[in-house]
Amino acid sequence: MNKVARYAVQVLLYVAFGAAIGYFSSRPAFEVMPSDQALVRLSFSHGAKPIAPCRERTEEELAKLAPNMRVKLDCPRERTPVKVEIEMDGKPLYEIVAAPAGIRRDGASTVYRRLPVAAGKHTFKARLSDSPDGKFGYTAEEVVDLAPGRVLLIDFNAGQGGFLFRR
């Protein structure tokens, strides 16, 4: 009888072990975002213009340099931080000033942001400034109908004309 009881408890403990493993292997479900929302992802990598214009070195400055370094134009390596502003339906949705990468701040500025928004039809305006004067050299506007659970990717590629709205 004692042996039967021990085996019964063993079985119960194995069942409890299996139940715990099985349950938490897929439950409870995780709510990534509310079911009435869509997702906007802002993601790009862009190398901005130099932080200051190039200038010509004077003869005195050239003379001080080693012969192999005597280049007339002196262009700073550091790039301008990239400023991005996103509006949705006339209201600010997101803005950031992204510093250039690298120790000498001469790399590309990279931006990534997840922006859950209410599903539905929205007008998105995007502006980007990559010059030292702070003027927004790139703008775009797009009307997007986002169903619940859909993703709108706002990318930027200067070579392809600027902002790209992908869905």
Binding site: L13, G18, G22, E31, V32, S45, Y112, V151
Partner: protein, 529 residues
Amino acid sequence: MDARPLRPPKTAAARLVERVDAAFDWPFGGRANPLRHLGALGFHLFWILLASGIYLYFAFDATATGAYRSIDELSQTPAGALARGLHRYASDAFVLVIALHVLREWLLGRFTGARWFPWVTGVALIGLVYASGIGGYWLVWDALAQFSLTATAEWLDRLPLFGLTLVRNFLDAGQMSDRFYSLLLFLHIGIPLALLAGMWLHIQRVARADVTPSRALALGTLATLAVLAFVDPALSQAPADVATAPSRLPLDWWLLFVHPLMYRTSPAALWAAVAGFAALTLALPWLVRAPRPAVARVSPENCNGCGRCFVDCPFGAVVLGPRTDAKRAPAQARVIAELCVACGICAGACPSSTPFRSIAELVTGIDMPQRPLAVVRDELERALAGLSGGPRIVLFGCDHAAEVRRFARADTGAVSLLCAGQLPPSFVEYALRGGADGVLVAGCERDGCRYRLGDAWTAERLGGRREPHLRASVPAERVRTAWTASAAGLERELEAFRASLAALRARPAARALPPRRLGGATTEGMVTR
């Protein structure tokens, strides 16, 4: 004699672990108690993962378009469903077993002193376990894989090394390539192999590591996971689609809880939590100041290099090396102080650790300064001299099990040891010849010895299966062992032994050994020197 304490007092956490272990001992028995073999269970689950993984590998199409389809097709067959279910649930069970293993070792204080190495190597493996498990989910390339891969990229991008560029690989459907899938497969094979190498390293400073669970435990675990694989099959979610973001996902919380944690806080917060946990746990052996016990000492003139201490040491702390004296013997034992946990099992293994030696002070080939066998012999002789009344019992007990000194009374002498394995079998015969009617050797629960092998070695020595062994001439009915950590359990064993010895005395044909001359002038039942 070293005056440092024999052992630190048992903590409340250790007592809690013992109670839980004891509760599981009743249905499972010591050998099949999962809580006493968590490390072995971990290895067992790894082999299940390896076998099921190999099966899945042959069916897996490591391409961007074929991955989802191939796994889905495999899941439609009974063998494929079993393999996939075993693979998923074994990985979840692996996480649970590892967590319990770490928790148990922490609560028992098994991370200080010489045990820092298995602790540090074990904690470092946790990262590889999660990398292996999470990487496996990516191979399916369903909605859950997409969510996990993107979340992981967002987390890694928080480091300056990546600079927000990693996640951009998973935002555009056109960027998912076959080469990338080959990389994911490579990671999911390479990281578990590194894990296996780490597991090998983890057991290097432990002799005869417990890496194989008993057949009952192994089959019970495998059967549970197999039944689970059929009752709740592991299935894929909808195919990954970078243009959609599911609002709800069935999440494997054992492995993927880090993603909700990150989204509820931030990638930086998750890095801080992971780094903090890693730093704290890795530094634990040096943060907690436990008294360092005196390590074993070799007496070269009493050591003939037989190697039994070397064979029996559970932590590989005794090695054989060239002699340091002119004695004509092949080798000499040497103690590696950093590895010695001061259990005394080596002293119990030494053939010169016999109390029958007539020298005034018993010096053995290898001994413990805080509890030399000379002192143990003196205590034994005093206990024997004081025995009177009913069946006279000598109780040898381990300091980490039930406290034996509580059981000393007129008819019961109690002698405490660092570990049951410290007891040379000849001491049992010495006690019987010295007037005891019976000898009870008590220690931790079977498979629960604080020093891993004390219970096993003692049982084998007393059973004549391990050198040095109890001589066959010693009547077996007068020697008993009791493996229990609880005082109540030892009390029951003692009473049962008393009853059986009383029955022996009642039988005229069965006589106790007459008190023998132990050295110097004696009177019956007493020893003087």
